[in-house]
Point group: C3
Chain length 262, copies 3
Amino acid sequence: MQDAGQYLEKMQTTAPLVQNITNYVAMNIMANVMLAAGASPAMVHAREEAAEFAGIASALSVNIGTLDPDWVAAMEAAAAVMNDAGKPWVLDPVAVFATGLRRDAGARLVALKPSVVRGNASEILALAGAEAAGQGADAGDSVASAEIAARALAGQTGGVVAVTGAVDYITDGSTAYRVENGDAMMPRITALGCSLTGIVAAFTVGQPTLEATTAALAYYGLAGEQAAQRSQGPGTLAAHLLDALYGMTPKALTVGARISAA
Amino acid sequence: MQDAGQYLEKMQTTAPLVQNITNYVAMNIMANVMLAAGASPAMVHAREEAAEFAGIASALSVNIGTLDPDWVAAMEAAAAVMNDAGKPWVLDPVAVFATGLRRDAGARLVALKPSVVRGNASEILALAGAEAAGQGADAGDSVASAEIAARALAGQTGGVVAVTGAVDYITDGSTAYRVENGDAMMPRITALGCSLTGIVAAFTVGQPTLEATTAALAYYGLAGEQAAQRSQGPGTLAAHLLDALYGMTPKALTVGARISAA
Amino acid sequence: MQDAGQYLEKMQTTAPLVQNITNYVAMNIMANVMLAAGASPAMVHAREEAAEFAGIASALSVNIGTLDPDWVAAMEAAAAVMNDAGKPWVLDPVAVFATGLRRDAGARLVALKPSVVRGNASEILALAGAEAAGQGADAGDSVASAEIAARALAGQTGGVVAVTGAVDYITDGSTAYRVENGDAMMPRITALGCSLTGIVAAFTVGQPTLEATTAALAYYGLAGEQAAQRSQGPGTLAAHLLDALYGMTPKALTVGARISAA
């Protein structure tokens, strides 16, 4: 991972069409994050068209943040299309520990073997079947406490698992990386984690999943660092984050990425 | 109400998990407002999980802005959980005067005796059974014209009623306060009233309802005043409002609050 | 079209209540755009109240961006109310080329003869029955390539068709205008096209449809140009766009509008 910028460059050249079945809170900022980064997001969730649209998308993200049973059916149908076509899809298990509806949806989606699972420590612990101390949508566990669960979950899906927090941990079950980029104020903006999941989906198109996911996290965190330097609080941070995602060059990412083998 | 800042300090120390069943327009900005203030918002509305989630939340807000019958059922179920557990919940009766669906939902939710009702003058008048001159989501009546209705409604629910506008009026049916903080450009940003309802819910956790609601309104209005000084229009005002909510100290709130007995 | 500003002035004097049945991604920014411009937006979509609310609205916009069959029924019911009352309504056929659900919804709504159809070139081509090269929500065709389709579609609806892009094309089937205002970064902000559709709806209240639509596009594009001068990327551009919409005077619009007969 000496050259994180190459993954950004490839993503921007591809400008992949990414279908997102995400929650109502995240839809707008997630689309803006993906557009700023140079991807082509489409929010398409209805049961009547989700699978059909998956046929033309290059990647898919699914997010259980504001769930209902119809949406789970659409997620499963779209994920199946991606699997059949060998296209990547990413699961964001928002607050999967909180209710029975979420635990059930999380289990069903994990069984479909997502290319990447991106969550906070409490979410990854819960998905892997361990005890989690999350509150609402927030993690109550440290990233370090979820590393074993992350590797176990990756073993279960055959894909990559990314645990995000102060220092991110990304693993395919054998190899692992840590990413130290980011700013402490980012959790004060809603749905930035959800939005990152869309960036991960875009990066994985036509690129090795573990490295592309790691580069996506570094890109996002570095943009957050740059934005924080120009901001006085979460409101201006959100605006400057989009500007920083838009303005980041591959070279700047390669220089600024703080990635290490774990 | 000499020390409004103490209510902010207590809320930030508690960082309460607040469940919000709110409208699609408000979800993102409301979550951002609550995160900036130091609360922990969760947007959970599905019938299949709303009541279960209410069991772990410290407070609840319900908002009828983009309603359908399924959502009303989820609101009623979650409100019942709060009532049984003695936890506070706040009703935001958006445009309750506009259609039969809204009038019916408003009446059903008032019957469940919300701890606080927060609305504009036309909404409070309509909820109390009086004639209202609202247009769409906007008030067509002055706060002053809704004071009698506010006291009557508080008598009906046994809780607090807050009428927001140029000068806010807050009453539990006997005692009442006015809050003069705020900026005239705030109504040019959508869902700022809805978002305030979430702040009210967070403040009422473990604090006396009338005073906590009054302090919440002063906090929000004062942040709006600070933001307006740095803004050229509603776009920059929205960003600076989040920054101001984030940066406000209890002491600054105590000094800047313009609260008077009514 | 020597005096575009008069249409803005009339709209702001009227401050029309516009009902919007739009997609989840657009709801917040669309309401903010319309409030900044001086209109009164209301997002009301439920089958149980959409037609009733249409009775009190001065104009309606419908947008198929995040569709499901219930929403189409609400759109049709609300559009029928507007037609019966002789009030304007505007159709935004987001990604109508992408799935069967969208093609069907688009055809049904066009059959109800919208006062204005506002879309990108690929959407207008697809609605008119021609081949379209759109990807996701993005146009894959030039505005110029959709001019014949736009005139044909206007002939079909008896209304106005606006094709937006680098240079917009607006026609009622016989007369046509072009608008050159705008900034190349605007497509990097999600739902700005959707939001523009609400501005068009507001402008058409009580004004000649072709000229009002043309003036609305010039107003929006000019605000984008002004905002771009103060922005470093799409995040700050979105905030400054709202400020520019809010601050624009009729005189500034008349001076800055770049409208020509086509």
